[in-house]
Symmetry: C2
Subunit: 186 residues, 2 copies
Protein backbone atom coordinates (compact mmCIF):
# COMPACT_ATOMS: atom_id res chain seq x y z
CA UNK A 1 0.00 0.00 0.00
CA UNK A 2 1.22 3.49 -0.84
CA UNK A 3 0.68 6.72 1.07
CA UNK A 4 0.19 9.92 -0.93
CA UNK A 5 2.49 12.70 0.23
CA UNK A 6 2.76 16.29 -0.89
CA UNK A 7 5.28 17.25 -3.58
CA UNK A 8 8.93 17.06 -2.60
CA UNK A 9 12.41 16.45 -3.99
CA UNK A 10 12.38 12.67 -3.57
CA UNK A 11 14.56 11.53 -6.48
CA UNK A 12 17.20 9.29 -4.83
CA UNK A 13 20.08 8.56 -4.91
CA UNK A 14 21.58 11.58 -6.67
CA UNK A 15 25.16 12.76 -7.30
CA UNK A 16 27.09 14.74 -4.66
CA UNK A 17 29.64 16.68 -6.66
CA UNK A 18 31.96 19.58 -6.02
CA UNK A 19 31.47 22.41 -8.47
CA UNK A 20 34.45 24.72 -8.91
CA UNK A 21 34.11 28.15 -10.46
CA UNK A 22 35.95 31.47 -10.75
CA UNK A 23 35.37 35.05 -11.85
CA UNK A 24 36.94 38.45 -11.14
CA UNK A 25 39.93 36.96 -9.38
CA UNK A 26 37.83 34.93 -6.91
CA UNK A 27 37.46 31.17 -7.08
CA UNK A 28 35.04 29.00 -5.11
CA UNK A 29 33.83 25.47 -4.44
CA UNK A 30 30.18 24.50 -4.06
CA UNK A 31 28.66 21.12 -3.25
CA UNK A 32 25.75 20.26 -5.52
CA UNK A 33 23.30 17.35 -5.33
CA UNK A 34 20.87 18.91 -7.79
CA UNK A 35 22.88 17.76 -10.83
CA UNK A 36 22.29 15.37 -13.70
CA UNK A 37 23.32 14.35 -17.18
CA UNK A 38 20.88 15.87 -19.66
CA UNK A 39 22.20 14.99 -23.13
CA UNK A 40 24.60 12.43 -24.67
CA UNK A 41 25.60 14.36 -27.80
CA UNK A 42 26.52 17.07 -27.26
CA UNK A 43 27.54 15.82 -23.82
CA UNK A 44 25.68 18.07 -21.39
CA UNK A 45 24.86 18.17 -17.69
CA UNK A 46 22.90 20.51 -15.49
CA UNK A 47 23.55 21.90 -12.04
CA UNK A 48 20.97 23.88 -10.07
CA UNK A 49 22.18 26.66 -7.78
CA UNK A 50 20.28 29.11 -5.55
CA UNK A 51 20.72 32.71 -6.80
CA UNK A 52 21.81 33.80 -3.31
CA UNK A 53 24.78 31.40 -3.28
CA UNK A 54 28.19 33.06 -3.68
CA UNK A 55 29.06 30.72 -6.56
CA UNK A 56 25.95 31.68 -8.54
CA UNK A 57 27.42 35.05 -9.52
CA UNK A 58 30.83 33.54 -10.33
CA UNK A 59 29.26 31.02 -12.73
CA UNK A 60 26.95 33.61 -14.27
CA UNK A 61 29.86 36.02 -14.81
CA UNK A 62 32.28 33.50 -16.28
CA UNK A 63 29.70 31.17 -17.89
CA UNK A 64 32.01 28.29 -16.96
CA UNK A 65 32.21 25.71 -14.19
CA UNK A 66 33.79 22.35 -13.48
CA UNK A 67 31.99 19.35 -11.95
CA UNK A 68 34.45 17.37 -9.80
CA UNK A 69 33.38 13.82 -8.84
CA UNK A 70 33.77 13.01 -5.15
CA UNK A 71 35.08 9.99 -3.25
CA UNK A 72 34.79 8.56 0.26
CA UNK A 73 38.17 10.12 1.04
CA UNK A 74 36.71 13.50 0.05
CA UNK A 75 33.37 13.06 1.89
CA UNK A 76 34.19 15.40 4.79
CA UNK A 77 35.48 18.15 2.47
CA UNK A 78 32.46 17.65 0.20
CA UNK A 79 30.07 18.08 3.10
CA UNK A 80 32.00 21.08 4.43
CA UNK A 81 31.82 22.85 1.06
CA UNK A 82 28.05 22.34 1.09
CA UNK A 83 27.63 23.91 4.51
CA UNK A 84 30.01 26.88 4.36
CA UNK A 85 29.87 29.96 2.11
CA UNK A 86 32.66 31.37 -0.03
CA UNK A 87 31.61 34.80 1.24
CA UNK A 88 33.13 33.92 4.63
CA UNK A 89 36.55 32.80 3.42
CA UNK A 90 38.55 30.80 0.92
CA UNK A 91 36.90 27.39 0.69
CA UNK A 92 39.91 25.81 -1.02
CA UNK A 93 41.94 26.63 2.05
CA UNK A 94 39.16 25.76 4.49
CA UNK A 95 38.36 22.39 2.91
CA UNK A 96 41.97 21.34 2.38
CA UNK A 97 41.24 20.62 -1.29
CA UNK A 98 43.85 21.56 -3.89
CA UNK A 99 43.09 23.74 -6.93
CA UNK A 100 44.67 22.52 -10.17
CA UNK A 101 44.68 24.57 -13.38
CA UNK A 102 41.73 24.18 -15.74
CA UNK A 103 42.42 23.01 -19.28
CA UNK A 104 39.43 23.98 -21.42
CA UNK A 105 37.99 26.50 -18.96
CA UNK A 106 39.68 29.16 -16.87
CA UNK A 107 38.41 28.01 -13.46
CA UNK A 108 40.50 25.53 -11.43
CA UNK A 109 39.52 21.91 -10.88
CA UNK A 110 39.88 19.82 -7.72
CA UNK A 111 43.17 17.94 -7.83
CA UNK A 112 41.92 15.21 -5.43
CA UNK A 113 38.96 14.41 -7.70
CA UNK A 114 39.30 11.31 -9.92
CA UNK A 115 37.30 12.92 -12.75
CA UNK A 116 36.75 16.63 -13.45
CA UNK A 117 34.19 17.65 -16.07
CA UNK A 118 34.83 21.10 -17.54
CA UNK A 119 31.67 22.83 -18.76
CA UNK A 120 30.56 25.95 -20.55
CA UNK A 121 27.11 27.34 -19.70
CA UNK A 122 24.72 27.22 -22.67
CA UNK A 123 21.54 28.34 -20.95
CA UNK A 124 20.31 29.46 -17.52
CA UNK A 125 16.73 28.46 -16.65
CA UNK A 126 15.20 30.16 -13.57
CA UNK A 127 12.82 27.70 -11.87
CA UNK A 128 12.05 29.01 -8.37
CA UNK A 129 14.44 28.54 -5.46
CA UNK A 130 17.06 27.39 -7.96
CA UNK A 131 18.42 28.47 -11.33
CA UNK A 132 19.39 25.59 -13.58
CA UNK A 133 22.66 26.00 -15.48
CA UNK A 134 22.77 23.85 -18.62
CA UNK A 135 26.44 23.07 -19.22
CA UNK A 136 28.02 21.63 -22.32
CA UNK A 137 31.03 19.46 -21.50
CA UNK A 138 34.21 20.94 -22.96
CA UNK A 139 36.54 18.13 -21.91
CA UNK A 140 37.08 15.64 -19.12
CA UNK A 141 40.16 15.39 -16.89
CA UNK A 142 40.76 11.83 -15.67
CA UNK A 143 43.24 11.04 -12.93
CA UNK A 144 46.04 8.62 -13.84
CA UNK A 145 45.30 6.60 -10.70
CA UNK A 146 41.86 5.67 -12.12
CA UNK A 147 43.17 4.54 -15.50
CA UNK A 148 44.10 0.92 -16.01
CA UNK A 149 47.67 1.13 -17.42
CA UNK A 150 47.17 -2.09 -19.41
CA UNK A 151 44.01 -1.02 -21.25
CA UNK A 152 44.04 2.79 -20.93
CA UNK A 153 40.42 2.51 -19.78
CA UNK A 154 38.87 4.38 -16.87
CA UNK A 155 38.25 2.16 -13.84
CA UNK A 156 35.77 4.23 -11.86
CA UNK A 157 34.78 1.30 -9.66
CA UNK A 158 38.17 1.62 -7.96
CA UNK A 159 37.82 5.37 -7.39
CA UNK A 160 35.50 5.03 -4.37
CA UNK A 161 32.83 7.43 -5.65
CA UNK A 162 30.05 8.49 -3.30
CA UNK A 163 26.37 9.17 -3.76
CA UNK A 164 23.77 11.18 -1.83
CA UNK A 165 20.53 9.60 -0.67
CA UNK A 166 17.80 11.24 1.40
CA UNK A 167 20.21 13.54 3.24
CA UNK A 168 23.19 11.22 3.69
CA UNK A 169 26.36 10.25 1.84
CA UNK A 170 27.03 6.60 0.94
CA UNK A 171 29.82 4.67 -0.74
CA UNK A 172 28.80 2.49 -3.67
CA UNK A 173 28.10 -1.09 -2.62
CA UNK A 174 27.46 -4.43 -4.24
CA UNK A 175 27.87 -4.66 -8.03
CA UNK A 176 24.56 -5.79 -9.55
CA UNK A 177 25.38 -6.04 -13.27
CA UNK A 178 26.28 -4.03 -16.34
CA UNK A 179 23.77 -2.32 -18.61
CA UNK A 180 22.17 -5.04 -20.74
CA UNK A 181 22.85 -7.88 -18.26
CA UNK A 182 19.17 -8.87 -18.29
CA UNK A 183 19.27 -9.90 -21.97
CA UNK A 184 22.84 -11.14 -22.25
CA UNK A 185 23.37 -14.79 -23.16
CA UNK A 186 25.13 -16.78 -20.44
Amino acid sequence: MKQTWRAGTMLNPVPAVLVSCAAGGRSNLLTVAWAGTICSDPAMLSISVRPERFSHALIKDSMEFTVNLTTAAMARATDWCGVRSGRDGDKWHGSGLTPAPGVGVSCPCVDESPVCIECRVRQIVPLGTHDMFLGEVVDVLADDRCIDPATGKLDLAAAGLITYCHGAYYALGEYLGHFGFSVRKK
Copy 2:
Protein backbone atom coordinates in the same frame (compact mmCIF):
# COMPACT_ATOMS: atom_id res chain seq x y z
CA MET B 1 48.46 13.68 -12.90
CA LYS B 2 45.37 14.09 -15.02
CA GLN B 3 44.81 13.11 -18.64
CA THR B 4 42.65 15.37 -20.80
CA TRP B 5 39.93 13.45 -22.62
CA ARG B 6 37.36 14.60 -25.11
CA ALA B 7 33.90 15.63 -23.92
CA GLY B 8 31.67 12.83 -22.63
CA THR B 9 28.87 12.08 -20.19
CA MET B 10 31.07 11.36 -17.18
CA LEU B 11 28.89 12.52 -14.29
CA ASN B 12 28.80 9.50 -11.94
CA PRO B 13 27.01 7.95 -10.13
CA VAL B 14 23.58 8.94 -11.41
CA PRO B 15 20.03 7.67 -10.72
CA ALA B 16 18.63 4.63 -12.55
CA VAL B 17 14.89 5.15 -12.43
CA LEU B 18 11.87 3.65 -14.14
CA VAL B 19 9.73 6.27 -15.84
CA SER B 20 6.11 5.27 -16.40
CA CYS B 21 3.91 7.10 -18.87
CA ALA B 22 0.65 6.71 -20.78
CA ALA B 23 -1.29 8.29 -23.64
CA GLY B 24 -3.97 7.21 -26.11
CA GLY B 25 -4.69 3.97 -24.27
CA ARG B 26 -1.03 2.82 -24.31
CA SER B 27 1.19 2.79 -21.25
CA ASN B 28 4.93 2.21 -21.13
CA LEU B 29 7.99 1.93 -18.90
CA LEU B 30 11.38 3.46 -19.70
CA THR B 31 14.63 3.26 -17.78
CA VAL B 32 16.33 6.63 -17.42
CA ALA B 33 19.76 7.49 -16.04
CA TRP B 34 19.75 11.01 -17.45
CA ALA B 35 17.62 12.36 -14.57
CA GLY B 36 18.16 14.84 -11.76
CA THR B 37 16.54 17.11 -9.24
CA ILE B 38 16.53 20.66 -10.61
CA CYS B 39 14.61 22.78 -8.08
CA SER B 40 13.57 22.51 -4.41
CA ASP B 41 10.52 24.81 -4.48
CA PRO B 42 8.61 24.13 -6.59
CA ALA B 43 9.92 20.57 -6.36
CA MET B 44 11.08 19.76 -9.89
CA LEU B 45 13.13 17.11 -11.63
CA SER B 46 14.24 16.55 -15.19
CA ILE B 47 14.41 13.45 -17.33
CA SER B 48 16.08 13.38 -20.75
CA VAL B 49 14.64 11.09 -23.43
CA ARG B 50 15.64 10.49 -27.06
CA PRO B 51 12.88 11.67 -29.46
CA GLU B 52 12.92 8.26 -31.19
CA ARG B 53 12.01 6.41 -27.98
CA PHE B 54 8.44 5.09 -27.84
CA SER B 55 7.86 6.80 -24.48
CA HIS B 56 8.85 10.22 -25.83
CA ALA B 57 5.55 10.61 -27.72
CA LEU B 58 3.52 9.30 -24.76
CA ILE B 59 5.04 11.90 -22.41
CA LYS B 60 4.76 14.68 -24.97
CA ASP B 61 1.09 13.84 -25.62
CA SER B 62 0.02 13.50 -21.99
CA MET B 63 2.53 16.02 -20.51
CA GLU B 64 2.74 13.70 -17.48
CA PHE B 65 5.09 11.01 -16.24
CA THR B 66 6.01 9.22 -13.02
CA VAL B 67 9.55 8.59 -11.79
CA ASN B 68 9.67 5.28 -9.92
CA LEU B 69 12.74 4.67 -7.72
CA THR B 70 14.39 1.28 -8.21
CA THR B 71 15.81 -1.32 -5.83
CA ALA B 72 18.23 -4.24 -6.01
CA ALA B 73 15.19 -6.55 -6.23
CA MET B 74 14.07 -4.60 -9.30
CA ALA B 75 17.53 -4.40 -10.96
CA ARG B 76 16.85 -7.03 -13.62
CA ALA B 77 13.49 -5.50 -14.58
CA THR B 78 15.06 -2.03 -14.57
CA ASP B 79 17.79 -3.14 -16.95
CA TRP B 80 15.30 -4.98 -19.17
CA CYS B 81 13.10 -1.87 -19.51
CA GLY B 82 16.20 0.06 -20.62
CA VAL B 83 17.06 -2.43 -23.35
CA ARG B 84 13.65 -3.29 -24.83
CA SER B 85 11.19 -1.00 -26.65
CA GLY B 86 7.51 -0.56 -25.92
CA ARG B 87 6.98 -0.71 -29.69
CA ASP B 88 7.68 -4.45 -29.55
CA GLY B 89 5.27 -5.39 -26.78
CA ASP B 90 3.82 -4.55 -23.38
CA LYS B 91 6.78 -3.82 -21.10
CA TRP B 92 4.69 -4.15 -17.95
CA HIS B 93 4.00 -7.74 -18.92
CA GLY B 94 7.51 -8.39 -20.19
CA SER B 95 9.26 -6.97 -17.12
CA GLY B 96 6.93 -8.56 -14.58
CA LEU B 97 6.37 -5.17 -12.95
CA THR B 98 2.87 -4.28 -11.73
CA PRO B 99 1.04 -1.11 -12.78
CA ALA B 100 -0.79 0.63 -9.95
CA PRO B 101 -3.21 3.54 -10.50
CA GLY B 102 -1.78 7.05 -10.52
CA VAL B 103 -3.11 9.55 -7.98
CA GLY B 104 -2.26 13.05 -9.23
CA VAL B 105 -1.54 12.00 -12.82
CA SER B 106 -3.38 9.62 -15.12
CA CYS B 107 -0.42 7.32 -15.91
CA PRO B 108 0.16 4.26 -13.72
CA CYS B 109 3.05 3.94 -11.27
CA VAL B 110 5.18 0.88 -10.51
CA ASP B 111 3.72 -0.99 -7.55
CA GLU B 112 7.07 -2.61 -6.64
CA SER B 113 8.77 0.80 -6.36
CA PRO B 114 9.27 2.17 -2.81
CA VAL B 115 8.75 5.78 -3.96
CA CYS B 116 6.89 7.04 -7.02
CA ILE B 117 7.16 10.71 -7.99
CA GLU B 118 4.26 11.95 -10.09
CA CYS B 119 5.18 14.84 -12.39
CA ARG B 120 3.60 17.25 -14.81
CA VAL B 121 5.76 18.53 -17.69
CA ARG B 122 6.38 22.29 -17.49
CA GLN B 123 8.85 22.65 -20.34
CA ILE B 124 10.56 20.55 -23.03
CA VAL B 125 14.10 21.63 -23.94
CA PRO B 126 15.58 20.04 -27.11
CA LEU B 127 19.35 19.63 -26.64
CA GLY B 128 20.64 17.25 -29.32
CA THR B 129 20.31 13.48 -29.00
CA HIS B 130 17.95 14.05 -26.04
CA ASP B 131 15.00 16.25 -25.19
CA MET B 132 14.92 17.34 -21.56
CA PHE B 133 11.49 17.22 -19.89
CA LEU B 134 11.27 19.58 -16.91
CA GLY B 135 8.73 18.03 -14.55
CA GLU B 136 7.06 19.65 -11.58
CA VAL B 137 6.34 17.14 -8.84
CA VAL B 138 2.58 16.82 -8.26
CA ASP B 139 2.79 14.40 -5.33
CA VAL B 140 4.86 11.51 -4.02
CA LEU B 141 3.61 7.96 -3.36
CA ALA B 142 5.58 6.26 -0.58
CA ASP B 143 5.26 2.56 0.11
CA ASP B 144 4.12 1.57 3.60
CA ARG B 145 7.04 -0.86 3.86
CA CYS B 146 9.50 2.07 3.76
CA ILE B 147 7.75 4.09 6.46
CA ASP B 148 8.78 3.66 10.07
CA PRO B 149 5.46 2.94 11.84
CA ALA B 150 6.75 4.55 15.06
CA THR B 151 7.76 7.89 13.53
CA GLY B 152 5.83 8.01 10.24
CA LYS B 153 9.12 8.93 8.58
CA LEU B 154 10.46 7.53 5.34
CA ASP B 155 13.33 5.08 5.85
CA LEU B 156 14.88 4.96 2.40
CA ALA B 157 18.07 3.33 3.67
CA ALA B 158 16.06 0.13 4.15
CA ALA B 159 14.57 0.24 0.65
CA GLY B 160 17.69 -1.10 -1.08
CA LEU B 161 17.87 1.64 -3.72
CA ILE B 162 20.32 1.26 -6.59
CA THR B 163 22.50 3.69 -8.49
CA TYR B 164 24.13 3.66 -11.93
CA CYS B 165 27.85 4.27 -12.35
CA HIS B 166 29.84 4.15 -15.59
CA GLY B 167 27.58 1.55 -17.20
CA ALA B 168 26.79 -0.66 -14.20
CA TYR B 169 24.21 -0.90 -11.43
CA TYR B 170 25.30 -0.87 -7.76
CA ALA B 171 23.57 -1.15 -4.41
CA LEU B 172 24.29 1.63 -1.93
CA GLY B 173 27.16 0.76 0.41
CA GLU B 174 28.76 2.12 3.55
CA TYR B 175 27.03 5.06 5.26
CA LEU B 176 29.48 7.98 5.42
CA GLY B 177 27.48 10.63 7.30
CA HIS B 178 24.50 12.94 7.09
CA PHE B 179 24.53 16.36 5.45
CA GLY B 180 26.32 18.72 7.85
CA PHE B 181 28.32 16.01 9.62
CA SER B 182 31.57 17.88 8.96
CA VAL B 183 30.55 20.80 11.19
CA ARG B 184 28.45 19.00 13.80
CA LYS B 185 29.65 19.13 17.37
CA LYS B 186 30.47 15.71 18.79
